[in-house]
């Protein structure tokens, strides 16, 4: 049922605007890949290209060994869930879900009883039993979302494409649906590409994350990969908060001004660089080597963690530091912080 999707050197422009530049991506059968990027980065365009709703200017998309340019929309067997669901509002939930089956050529069309049976099974799969007769306008956002998914699954797709599936829902439901989708995927095993601009969602849900920026793929990798070893400053900043320190790298050490702040750098890239440090990769220390002196200026709460803002001489922005213990410093206290993990990018 599942099929590998190969995207080869896709270019796509709208008039003068280059929406996708030389995008290539291999997706394994049954894999769950997240397309992550800020708004306008080309995620929807890439998804529509895979679906065949948009034609590439260069490059091609393969399903298994088949060039999709040779396949009609029907033969591509895509399960597409649109950003705003696109449920047919003049039809009931059951009619929506049955639409794909009823659209088949007469010879392949299941009979009425079979369609009813499948609609029931799908509604159970998406945990919405007994809603057959409702109209989309009588459903909550989360329910519409799941009806849209059931409708897409009804045609037994080779590839499932989801465009910001939880985009329009509130935070709590988003989290519940995340776990549910992950579970559904492991049961049905469709090759799935889902678009999101929420890095947390992408990292939690996907087997691999592909990060798009201004039409270019910046990095593709497992969540751990891209989070711990971002390939570009953009990826690093997009995946989570990070302090940016202008440093100079000499040998294996990074210097903030003339003070060494990080050692053991493996990349041999002497010269000016930007050092990206996540708030939880900074900690308070007592000892002096490789530590940065500063003053606590502000204490804040960010969800589960508390955060200290530390002013450092020579830095225009305060350093953000996530407090790991309950003991918090006082505002105005002089402290020393140490970098436990960082990524350096050479700057010109």
């Amino acid at each position: 049922m599942s099929v590998a999707v190969t995207i080869e050197a896709i270019d796509k422009r709208f008039l003068a605007f280059q929406a996708l530049r030389n995008v290539s991506l291999d997706i394994q059968p049954g894999e769950l890949v997240a397309l992550l990027g800020p708004s306008g980065s080309g995620k929807t365009t890439l998804l529509r290209l895979i679906a065949g709703l948009e034609q590439a200017d260069a490059g091609r998309v393969l399903f298994g060994d088949d060039d999709t340019r040779d396949l009609s929309l029907r033969d591509r067997r895509i399960g597409f869930v649109f950003q705003h669901y696109a449920l047919f509002k003049t039809m009931t939930v059951a009619e929506n879900i049955a639409f794909g089956l009823r659209s088949r050529p007469r010879a392949e069309r299941p009979d009425g009883a079979e369609i009813t049976r499948r609609v029931k099974a799908l509604l159970e799969l998406v945990q919405l039993p007994d809603l057959e007769r409702r109209y989309p306008s009588q459903l909550s956002g989360g329910q519409r979302q799941r009806v849209a998914l059931a409708r897409a699954l009804a045609i037994e797709p080779q590839v499932l494409l989801l465009d910001e599936p939880f985009g329009a829902l509130d935070a709590k439901i988003r989290k519940d649906l995340r776990a549910w989708l992950r579970d559904l995927h492991s049961r049905t095993g469709h090759t799935t590409v889902f678009v999101t601009h929420d890095q947390e969602e992408a990292l939690e849900l996907a087997d691999r994350v592909a990060i798009l920026h201004e039409g270019k793929l910046e990095q593709v990798g497992t969540p751990d990969d891209v989070y711990d070893h971002p390939a570009t400053p953009f990826v690093c900043e997009f995946l989570g908060e990070a302090n940016r320190l202008p440093v100079k790298i000499v040998g294996s050490q990074a210097f903030l001004g003339d003070r060494p702040v990080l050692g053991g750098l493996t990349q041999n890239q002497s010269g000016p660089a930007a050092l990206y440090v996540r708030p939880h990769h900074l900690k308070f220390v007592d000892e002096t080597p490789l530590s940065i002196p500063g003053v606590v200026e502000q204490l804040r709460r960010t969800g589960a963690l508390r955060r200290a803002e530390i002013a450092v001489a020579g830095l225009t922005k305060r350093l953000d530091l996530d407090l790991t213990s309950q003991v918090a410093p006082a505002i105005g206290e002089r402290v020393r912080v140490k970098i436990t993990h960082a990524t350096a990018f050479a700057t010109a």
Binding site: R74, I173, D176
Partner: protein, 301 residues
């Protein structure tokens, strides 16, 4: 593997009555101003719109029921009624089909000349109907550009049914298209794209998705188009030649009777047209009252 569960959310059913349909004004204007405005507009409506309409029916019945029946069943009147129905029966479906096609093209595709097409659709509204009629005479009349060719081939257009139909089509074209265009534009193409990815043929997409989505706007447009097609006077007067029993439509018949000082008969036929207007109005109001929320919802999406 554990079953994933979802919290059972209460479904928020659309509450149609929750939202007040007309917000009450509590502005700075005092009750006196309010009363004055209402009185003025009501008086105007009564005097200029309702009174004439009533007088049509009063005049029509002035000579009694028998005279009324006589006026609308005499052969010329029957011929006029049949011709009017025939013209509408051809012009309205034609404009529905072409109007849907034009609205579809404008709403769902990008092409050069789109703005020109939108302006062209409005042309019949901005041009005097008399001119619309004259254009056809100029084209197809005996002295017109295509006149000799038509005559040689024995085709009659002006002073015949085809001319009436052409003129009516021209004048009533915008109604359907103009109702549909904004609605279709607001809907976008996502529903159609969804249907296509689900494997529907373009044919099925049109009849199962596009058409049902705009059915109320379409019905609205047809209603208005039909009312105008049956009531059109100016353009039809020019191309008709007013041959009694042959090319005389109801509005033309009314005028002829009136000019011949047969006032009661004229008003009797006119009362049929007025009746049509009332039925149209009633249907339109019924539609808005019964399906107002559905129509508004369909347009919002």
């Amino acid at each position: 593997m554990s079953e994933a569960t979802l919290p059972d959310r209460a479904t928020n059913l659309a509450a149609p009555a929750a939202r007040p349909r007309t917000a009450r004004r509590t502005g700075a204007e005092g009750p006196v101003v309010q009363l004055l405005l209402i009185t003025v507009s009501l008086a105007f409506l009564l005097l200029f719109l309702l009174l004439p309409l009533i007088s049509v029916f009063v005049e029509a019945g002035a000579r009694g029921w028998a005279a009324y029946r006589e006026a609308i069943t005499e052969p010329d009147a029957v011929a006029a009624i049949r011709l009017t129905l025939l013209v509408a029966a051809i012009a309205v479906p034609f404009n529905v089909v072409v109007g849907i096609a034009a609205a579809w093209a404008i709403a769902k595709f990008e092409f050069t000349g789109k703005n020109l097409l939108i302006s062209l659709i409005d042309l019949p509204f901005s041009v005097s109907p008399v001119i619309s009629g004259l254009v056809y005479v100029l084209l197809f009349g005996a002295q017109g550009y295509l006149g000799p060719f038509l005559k040689a081939n024995g085709i009659e257009i002006i002073f015949a049914l085809p001319g009436l139909i052409l003129a009516t089509i021209f004048v009533t074209f915008p109604f359907v298209a103009r109702e549909l265009i904004p609605h279709m534009q607001a809907l976008g193409s996502t529903d159609e794209e969804a249907a296509l990815t689900l494997g529907a043929s373009p044919w099925r997409v049109f009849f199962a998705i596009t058409l049902p989505n705009v059915k109320w706007s379409l019905f609205y447009g047809i209603l208005l188009c039909n009312a105008r097609a049956m009531g059109e006077f100016g353009a039809v007067a020019v191309v008709s030649g007013k041959i009694r029993g042959l090319t005389n439509t109801m509005p033309l018949h009314v005028e002829i009777l009136y000019n011949e000082y047969m006032g009661a008969a004229a008003f009797a036929v006119a009362s049929l047209l007025a009746g049509l207007a009332l039925v149209t109005l009633a249907l339109k109001s019924l539609l808005e009252w019964r399906y107002g929320d559905a129509i508004a919802a369909a347009r919002r999406h």
